[in-house]
Symmetry: C2
Subunit: 184 residues, 2 copies
């Protein structure tokens, strides 16, 4: 280290406080569950599996297409499968190559995508649950309908939603904590 | 201002960098829509009005109690009315007294409350929408049911949800940006 010392006034001067030093530099913290981590991959896998079961069980009933809410359910589950599969592949790539996916643009995109898919899946789950309870409990016409299949598909869609909530919350949290750090 | 100068070595020493000065102090930014602002009051008022209309219209039908999803709808709308009314009163108090409601504990509480009530309201809206579409479009039995009332109540519950989303997102955003400012 080269240090210059004044020959006339040998006073140790403390480091200067420049303006740049006062601005807090903020980085994204690596949290398990965020893109490019093992937990994120696990969550994507769980979403993919639950959504796939939900779609398969619902599509296996012969009369799902006669109910609008069940058609929407199949579409929402399909979208969730595609989204979770794509992001799972991206997580595997990031883990294998050792590349960080935690920059603002990627996290914004993941956050919006997770928000949209999980909201659609939750809406489908609730609509399906409403109709299943109506058929099974209120009208008691399970004999003419596939109540067990509808119940299984609804349960799986709620599990998909539960698995997608941590992904969304963690992405949104890290996004907002990166953007709005206001020094007093 | 009293400034002491050394008589032997009249060297201007820059201010010392203490450890405390290096820690970034973060404050909450005042954003319209956050608790204690006019926009927040407006959002609470909108939630209250929409939820009240939804509950009144649904409760005015004679047979809503025979459908489990509609009973849940009335309960969720009731909870939303209570929550929005309480927070509206708190906003009015904060605006009149000029007190800021933007500290971490209050915002955490509001954020969780908004998250829970808006999720319950959205679930009720989706379940109700699923059943309304089933009765009206798929089965075509509107003559024996109150389709118009169910549709109105469902629309109002979605409007309630739309009005409660900004409250939740802004509270959650400000909460996360306050907590996780990590200096590099």
């Amino acid at each position: 280290m080269s240090v210059s010392r004044a020959s006339v006034h040998p006073v140790e001067t403390p480091p200067l406080q420049t303006e740049a030093a006062n601005v807090p530099r903020v980085r994204m913290k690596d949290i398990q569950g965020m893109p490019g981590t093992i937990s994120s991959l696990f969550l994507r896998f769980a979403q993919f599996v639950f959504a796939s079961i939900a779609l398969s069980v619902m599509a296996s009933t012969s009369d799902f297409s006669s109910v609008t809410a069940f058609c929407y359910f199949v579409a929402a589950a399909g979208l969730q499968i595609l989204w979770s599969f794509s992001l799972g592949i991206l997580d595997i790539y990031a883990l294998l190559v050792g590349r960080s996916l935690q920059n603002q643009r990627i996290v914004s995109f993941f956050s919006i995508g997770d928000g949209v898919t999980s909201t659609l899946m939750f809406a489908a789950a609730c609509a399906s649950a409403g109709i299943t309870v109506l058929i099974g409990n209120d009208l008691g016409v399970c004999a003419q309908n596939h109540c067990t299949e509808f119940e299984t598909a609804t349960t799986m869609s709620f599990l998909t939603w539960f698995a997608s909530i941590p992904s969304f919350v963690l992405n949104f949290w890290s996004l907002s904590s990166q953007c709005r750090c206001v020094p007093a």
